[in-house]
């Protein structure tokens, strides 16, 4: 258990997840984004692609995005999506342990 209350595994995995997400965006749009690039502001993503991003994350990482998490700001960058995936996986793992 981490004394800081943060899941220790998440930061390690996040970089790889960011890259996977960026590669998925590249495959769909023909442009490889920086992990911190706002996909919507830079024209790579729009409201239609947003739902595809949600479905991609859910299928690839076996998470469910629901409730207050289902908001565009979570999907603006590969970084923010990876952070969301990390948090949802950590929450699911915590639920599983409990």
């Amino acid at each position: 258990m981490s004394a800081q209350g943060q899941p220790e595994a998440a930061p390690v995995a996040t970089g790889a997840v960011e890259e996977e997400i960026a590669r998925y965006v590249a495959e769909k749009t023909g442009t490889l984004p920086e992990v911190g690039q706002d996909l919507f502001a830079t024209g790579l993503a729009n409201s239609m692609f947003a739902l595809e991003l949600v479905v991609f994350l859910e299928r690839t990482y076996s998470v469910t995005v629901a409730g207050a998490d289902l908001q565009l700001p979570n999907f603006r960058t590969a970084e923010s999506m990876a952070a969301l995936v990390g948090r949802l996986r950590a929450e699911a793992a915590a639920d599983g342990d409990g």
């Binding site: 729009n46 409201s47 239609m48 947003a50 739902l51 949600v54 991609f56 289902l70 565009l72 999907f75």
Partner: protein, 284 residues
Amino acid sequence: MDVPILAVVGAGVMGTGISTLAVGRGLPVVLVDVDEAVLERARVAIASGLRHSQLVGALPVGCAPAELRTTVSLDDVAAAGAVIEAVTERAELKAELLAKVSTLVRPGTALISNTSGIPIDEMAAGVRRPGDLIGTHFMNPAYLISMVEVIRGPRTADETVDSVLSLLTRLGRRAVVVRDAPGFVTSRLLHPMINDAARVVSEGTATAEEVDALMQGCLGHPTGPLRTADLIGIDNLVDALTVLHARTGDERCRPSELLLEKVRRGELGRKSGRGFYVYREAAS
């Protein structure tokens, strides 16, 4: 408060999208189709559409989704405050259905034909009260695009126009009312352009990606004509072009060979996972 029920007939892409919009805005919907399997897919698509609406902030805050009921019995439209017909884009199918619906509902119930281009008055002949008939042309996805083209036929009553405009306001949509003509305004302009874009691709001038990139980057089109074709559904596009061609004689509206070939191959756009583009993560 007594909330009127909206009946939607036809659970394809448009009927599903319109149902999503209404349910998301707190208006109960009874969705009718002849096929249980189609209704099952529609229920999944509507759930996905509600998530999509929430994702992009298109749902009103603090408004719980209303009830969705699906049925294979057309008689269930009887209690509706308005009926939206969204069956396949063929004049005779729509006319026959609207005539039938007009015998089931109370007089004064708006009969709304959702069509991308069939003149409304062509479907009025068999309808019991032609004044109750009006057209809408929702864009896809209906739950995200806030503008709706409304078509007033020559026999449409003022009360029908008023009631449809207030329904659309309730659904959070803006409307522009236009007169009846093949393709109205949006399809009359958009469909021949998409058809030409497909010809440009088949002539080898540019790829679909390049056509869309130029239309986006140089001319400010939000998605590009061929991505739009995939969103509309290429089968629907061909039907609508056929309607336009038959009624205007405009050769630009004769469905291009590439569009016809895509329909033959089942490459119908987003809804089938492939059109001009590939959609591997399609929600359906």
